[in-house]
């Protein structure tokens, strides 16, 4: 699925090329620490939630070659459960986020176990269909509030101590969650498990003949991806204090695909860059109304026809580094 980037390991290893990922990480952290002093913090926090969501999605498409067109299911249902547990059961934010995440993991396991029975295009359609089913369930169930959503979710006190209504405290929490999720994904990709995933992406039949139970690897990757999407969704629900149908409907699934595609599928930093680019577009061009949808469509088409590597993939390719 991803465009092959010339493997940097075969190039002359200069120090900065070897360390390109570390350098990129440091730049990203510094930028995110400085940014709230110059930009609207609420926007940055939302962008980080979406960035984590896109990274989780990219784990599947970029490293296992599975296109899930239904990731809104895990993002949205996690946000419902996080919001509900915080509001109705009075959970503290960390437990609310855990509740949402666990929901996403469970949904990911059930949908994933069925969806991996089909490959390629059928896999994408199946995941989309399951997501739509759960959208209808959310629409019908009482606790989700249907069209109204779950409103006035309390941000609460982290560990019962820190008041998250304070924007700075909230910012630190979101930043920490985002960075932790980001590093976990990086760790997964570079583990022996991640190497097997990449082998499946390259040639599943060969991986099977080497004795790997590929279905189990695929399912585990799917559940991990859904779980991390759940972390993002839960955090967003606590942050914006509302959980609604928007987060569980199919355009959300499409949006996360777009973010990863723009940034660069199969790159570590791509989804982060992509989500910031797309959200900035939505934020700055919100006066365009429905034309935004057209612009997103044009970006989709342009990415598929002209820039399949995405922003980060293109940069990495030019500089012959890994990002």
């Amino acid at each position: 699925m991803t465009e092959r980037v010339a493997d940097p390991m075969t190039q002359q290893p200069s120090l900065w090329r070897q360390q390109s990922e570390t350098i990129g990480f440091v730049v990203m952290v510094v930028a995110l620490v400085v940014a709230p002093f110059v930009t609207y913090p609420l926007f940055l926090m939302q962008a980080m939630c979406f960035a984590l969501f896109a990274c989780a999605f990219n784990l599947l498409i970029g490293y296992v070659g599975l296109l899930s067109f239904g990731h809104a299911l895990y993002f949205g249902w996690a946000s419902y459960l996080a919001a509900y547990s915080a509001k109705a059961w009075g959970f503290t934010p960390e437990f609310a986020i855990l509740t949402g995440t666990a929901t996403a993991a469970l949904c990911g396991f059930l949908a994933g176990a069925l969806a991996i029975r089909r490959q390629g295009i059928y896999f994408a359609m199946t995941t989309l269909a399951f997501a739509q089913m759960m959208y209808f369930v959310a629409l019908r169930m009482k606790f989700t509030g249907g069209e109204d959503g779950i409103q006035a979710v309390p941000r609460g006190y982290l560990f019962g101590l820190i008041d998250l209504r304070n924007e700075s405290a909230m910012y630190v929490v979101v930043l920490v969650i985002f960075l932790a999720g980001f590093m976990l994904i990086h760790r997964i990709i570079n583990s022996p498990f991640g190497e097997v995933l990449k082998a499946i992406r390259e040639n599943e039949t060969r991986a099977i003949s080497l004795g790997y139970k590929t279905d189990r690897y695929k399912l585990l990757a799917f559940v991990l991806s859904a779980t991390l999407a759940g972390v993002a969704g839960s955090t967003k629900a606590i942050l914006v204090q509302i959980a609604s149908l928007t987060d569980v409907n199919w355009p959300m699934s499409g949006e996360v695909v777009l973010m990863s595609l723009v940034g660069g599928l199969g790159t570590i930093f791509g989804p982060v860059a992509g989500s910031f680019v797309i959200l900035t577009l939505q934020y700055k061009l919100s006066f365009l109304g429905e034309w935004l949808l057209v612009i997103q469509g044009v970006i989709f088409v342009a990415c598929v026809l002209l820039f399949r590597r995405g922003i980060v993939g293109e940069i990495a390719n030019r500089l012959r580094i890994r990002l």
Binding site: L67, R118, A129, W250, V257, V304
Partner: protein, 295 residues
């Protein structure tokens, strides 16, 4: 009026009728998807948008030129099919050699563009499309009230589905088409212009969607999101039926519509989800789909 299992007959037969109508749209759309997939190996995500374009074309024809329903039934599919041919020439033909998933992404992007543009011009509420005089009214059958137009929709879509099946399975053109699906290189060696065949097939599949759109216009109103809501259910229908056969697509379309209608009578809460539940069961029992061949 009488009762069956404690359900008034108007409700039961009425919902069955509505199920059949939804089923005819499922059938027409999954048929188009199957035809396109067979030749192009692309899942046409734009299909829902093209269905909507058919309705929009009918609406525009009536509003700006006064061309009525019957002519629109012919003209709108031709117009939208021609747009489809342009889409194939300008966009799709560049990605045949890539992973199939890129086809899905590309057509998804195209769908967003079409939907966005129509929302800007039409707003997101539905616009009414007036029924032709000859199809208004209905028959009071005693046990139910049968609107004439809805009967027409079922008859028309059944005939189009059967016609398409005949065209592909029983005619010479259909034979070329099926051969080119199996082995394009060999068919090209026989002197048949395969790229043009691909283009025309795409145009035909799109025209089917537009035809369904025109028929839907008087029932569902003309609204920009009418297609995207429908297409995902049709994807589930396709996963259930499998893309293997034309007849399979048609049968599962109608069948699932009827099941959905019955669910509305006996367990209305589940009427939106029943198709997806069936999909899950089929995936467990027959992963390749009811009529599909093992990949």
């Amino acid at each position: 009026m009488f009762e069956i299992f404690g359900i008034p007959s108007t409700a039961l037969f009425g919902q069955l009728l509505i199920g059949l109508i939804n089923g005819s749209f499922y059938a027409l759309l999954s048929l188009g998807l199957a035809v396109i997939f067979g030749m192009l190996n692309i899942i046409n995500f734009t299909h829902g948008a093209q269905f909507m374009l058919g309705a929009v074309a009918a609406y525009m024809l009536l509003k700006f030129t006064g061309i009525g329903y019957w002519s629109a039934l012919i003209l709108a599919p031709i117009i939208v099919g021609a747009i489809g041919i342009l889409i194939e020439r300008f966009f799709l033909q560049w990605i045949y050699k890539l992973d199939h998933l890129y086809g899905l992404l590309l057509t998804f992007g195209l769908a967003l563009i079409v939907e966005g543009v129509s929302r800007n011009y039409l707003g997101s509420a539905g616009l009414p499309y007036t029924l032709p005089e000859s199809l208004r009214g209905g028959q009071n059958l005693g046990f139910m009230f049968l609107p004439n137009y809805r009967v027409w929709v079922i008859v028309a879509s059944l005939s189009v589905c059967l016609g398409t099946w005949f065209l592909i399975e029983r005619t010479r053109i259909g034979a070329y088409l099926r051969a080119a699906t199996e082995n394009p290189t060999l068919v090209r060696a026989f002197g048949i212009n395969v790229p043009r065949m691909i283009t025309l097939t795409y145009g035909f599949g799109v025209a089917l969607a537009a035809f369904a759109g025109v028929m839907a216009a008087p029932i569902y109103n003309v609204s920009p999101n009418m297609g995207s809501d429908l297409i995902i259910v049709v994807f589930a229908v396709v996963v259930i039926g499998g893309m293997g056969s034309i007849l399979g697509a048609v049968l599962s379309g109608f069948g699932l519509g009827i099941i959905e209608g019955l669910t509305k009578v006996f367990f209305p809460e589940a009427s939106n989800t029943v198709v997806f539940v069936i999909m899950a069961i089929v995936l467990l029992v027959r992963p390749a789909g009811l009529f599909g061949r093992r990949a």
